[in-house]
């Protein structure tokens, strides 16, 4: 038996551990996928998918250094991609299409989400709770606008004003307290001029058109029933500050062609099934989309401008690299490619 076991061990010793390469299915577009990475892993990455194939860590390939610890947001503007890296305190300004990047050190600010307007880049930051303004010509931080006592997250710029979602904050013992406001910041004076009550724990805010925003809110955790309560989404009329709840919870969302697309998912294995929806911001009609989509643990959603390609990124069960899937509007799968750890945003360039 010992000899047999040793023989078996010798055989398995020769067996190579599989190291799967990205599948490289062409998804038909020039895409950038921001992979958030795992906190502590310094493994945030930027995947580039083009006609010439897939580079899962394009940022490192071009710049010979890693993106950093926990990438947060990616926006495109004027042949540049801007990335905030929360853990590393970075703003990376990447020129396209060559990919060379200039790093701006934001120190301990903890940069989160971004919006661009009038040649300025606005970044929500945790420390202090603020929005900072970066001049895109010089990449220097010009000014800081302090917010309330909660952590700011999503930001949208419309008609000279910034709308900032502020979600929650934890006490030193882990007790969460929740905000329910959108802060309105005047770009010219760079001061908070107003606030709009939305739902509890607002996360993302996106511009639908010059008059309309959409905001999702995750609700709060009930410590008695262990259920999340009050999650939802709402459309905000910027002229009147009227808030119209859609009646649909959205874990993540995007806007394309004046329509809101998103999904609602549970982070518990025994939670309800993931659902992909489209919401008409005028009528608030909610319809199910992508009936053939089998990605039940999405982490990102994006829709091409012509609304012919729906990009869904899976979270790799939050322990392995995720995949990017491209679906047609009828829900049939177009292609798939392995990307990086926790793919959180997809953009076309």
């Amino acid at each position: 038996m010992l000899i047999a076991t040793l023989a078996m061990l010798a055989l398995t010793a020769c067996e190579k551990t599989p190291e799967p390469e990205p599948t490289g299915d062409t998804l038909g577009q020039n895409l950038l996928v921001l992979n958030e990475g795992v906190w502590g892993g310094n493994n945030a990455s930027l995947t580039r998918i083009g006609a010439d194939g897939v580079d899962p860590d394009w940022f490192s390939t071009v710049n010979h250094r890693g993106l950093g610890d926990v990438a947060q947001d990616l926006v495109l503007h004027n042949n540049h991609a801007y990335i905030t890296v929360w853990g590393s305190g970075s703003l990376e300004a990447i020129s396209l299409p060559d990919g060379h990047s200039t790093r701006v050190d934001l120190g301990k600010r903890g940069p989160r989400y971004m919006a661009i307007d009038g040649g300025k880049l606005y970044i929500t930051c945790y420390n202090p709770h603020s929005v900072v303004r970066v001049d895109l010509a010089t990449l220097e931080v010009e000014a800081e606008c302090l917010l309330g006592g909660y952590n700011p997250e999503g930001i949208a710029a419309v008609d000279g004003r910034l709308y900032v979602a502020s979600d929650n904050i934890a006490d030193s013992n882990g007790l969460y307290r929740y905000d329910n406001l959108l802060y309105v910041v005047d770009e010219a004076t760079f001061r908070v001029v107003d606030s709009i009550v939305v739902g509890v724990n607002p996360q993302k805010v996106l511009r639908v058109d010059d008059q309309t925003l959409v905001v999702n809110y995750l609700g709060q955790w009930n410590t008695t029933t262990y259920a999340t309560e009050g999650e939802g989404s709402a459309v905000v009329d910027l002229a009147t500050h009227t808030v119209r709840p859609t009646g649909q919870a959205l874990t993540n969302m995007t806007v394309a062609g004046g329509t809101i697309y998103g999904y609602v998912r549970s982070y518990e294995s025994q939670g309800p099934a993931t659902r992909y929806v489209a919401i008409d911001p005028q009528t608030l009609d909610v319809s199910t989309i992508l009936p053939g989509c089998t990605v039940d643990q999405p982490y990102a959603i994006d829709v091409s401008a012509d609304r012919q390609h729906f990009y869904i990124a899976s979270d790799g069960e939050r322990i392995v690299d995720g995949d990017l899937y491209s679906y047609r509007p009828d829900g049939t799968l177009e292609g798939r490619s392995e990307v990086g750890m926790l793919p959180s945003k997809v953009v076309q360039y």
Binding site: G41, G66, G68, S88, Y126, S172, G174, Y176, Y267, V320
Partner: protein, 657 residues
Amino acid sequence: MTRLLHRLLAILILCAAATDLAAQDTTKVLEQVEVSSQRAPSTLRTAAPTQVATAESLEKIGAVQLSDAVRQMAGVVMKDYGGVGGMKTVSVRGLGSQFSTLVVDGVAVDNSQNGQVDLGRYLVGNAAYVSLSQGHEQSDLLSARAYAAGNVISLESAEPRFFLAERTNLKAGLEAGSFGLLSPSLLWEQRWSRRLKSSLWVNYLRSDGDYPYTLYYTASRTDSSSREVRQHSAMHMLTADGSLFYTIGSGNTLTAKLHYTRGMHQLPGHVVYYRPEPSAQSTHEEAAFAQARWRLVRPRWKTQVLGKVQTTYDQFEDSAATGMRNNYMENHYRQHEAYLSGSAAWEATGWLDVSGAVDGDLSHLASNLAYRNTVSRYSVVGAVAAKAHYGHFEARANLLATASTDRVVDLDTTPTYRRLSPYASLMWTPAEGVAVRYFYKETYRVPNFSELYMFQSLPRNLRPERARQHNIGLSYMGATVAATVDAYFNRVTDKIVARPGQNMFYWSMENLGLVHILGIDATASLHAGPFEMQCNYTFAHAVDRTNPENPKTYGHQIRYTPRHSGGGSARWNGRWVNLGLQAMVVGHRYAYQQNTAANRLPAYCDLGIGADRIFDLPWGTLRVQVQVLNLLDVQYEVVQFYPMMGRNFKLSLTYEL
């Protein structure tokens, strides 16, 4: 070995004294020489593979922390967060660290909070031996908890030994090394009467931990890099151990121990790209326990009672916790434990021994966490065991029953766990010095409080992790050479996997994993004149078998477990000076479950050399040892982004009165 040495030493002293007496041509009655009954476990004639580091060998390698002793053993994967103060846990044979039980002077150390014991916080300066047993130790008088372990790390404190008319032993030590390492210690042993002895050992350990390292900005380590210094890595710890050894009568002993430790560890945290500023995290810990062991040994039966009460306090603080109110986070935990164990063994016939043990334990944890901050666990463990020996064969079997239940504030349900776990072993000794062995063991571990109640968004009905272990091996002990080789197969089911939830504070815990571990441990030692050497090698094919549909993890080597690893030490005992060399070689590993090049951590070799000598002084002996550790200045990480120390130096002085 220790006992043999003491006997030899005693004989030498007697011979010298006798020679002296003969020269004086007078007659005197010699006082008795005390020979300790404290014995390290057998490593070769045992069905459970066992490795032992004696006090002598610990001294030779300059071990300070328990982790220094255990990392050299076959089958051990040490998870080391770097520096003297970095947390150090072990995973043995691919089983998780929570399958390893640390036993201090016969009593298992409990940590219901997170189930992990930091071996860096236990010191070996007053140890008689440290052993690692796969399965469990082969003693007749084990506590039921010791039967329950997947593997046992045993730390046994040294019992005082006195020669001739000595009543007092004093031993002072000082370790000093690079990056602010300083560790003075004092051992006072006293014989109060023929029956009563005591020892008091006090140690203070400090380190700045501000060592340099190279930070690589890509996984390939071939692109950008910078030279940095580890910051906010200081620690200090005070440990005091007082023991009483009372001989009630022949074979009837009572030992009692009081232990106190208090420390502070700055936590440098993981290295963050582009963020050179130091972390602001630290822990403060304080622990005290009192334990007693009464043992009665009679020709055909023996019994033992163990008892322990313990209180621990741990505080975690972060004054730069981004995203928290005022950037401040503070969690503290106070745990109380009461433990009682009774065991007995009876030689039923000339070939059959039977034994049994029952343990009861109450653990109570209170914290300042916002939710589910008060948890109590009541557990009862019982074991019945039998040992049969006939000719060249010895067979053992036991059945373990465990039951535990929890009470949790603001949780309606009370999770209860019950299970029977069998064990069987067979040993055949076909010739003198040769043994063939096999054991099978089932182990399960109850989820700890962190997994069940803290830092997760929803309490789940987590099942215990289960491990089935098979081991078959061969041992040989000759006059100068000893060797063992063991092959094993472990199967871990219902492995608990933690995954981040919607925010970084609360995680989700699920029984997701199935892991198969197929491996070999081999050890060899050689003693030839002044030269001695030992080495070990471990092969571990530890792979995920959870979901065949998931090619990203199925068949991949589990995290932080090298396929190949080994180590060794060599020593030449010279007339003028003793020279030693130690090496540890660890193959490549993966930081994540997916075995990609980006997740791969490179192999490394840690080589150390040293020299020592004992000087005879008028009032005692002085041992001086100098060591160069990580001689090749290899830049490596055991845990990704927790760099280890490069080349460093250590000086040890031990004065024995």
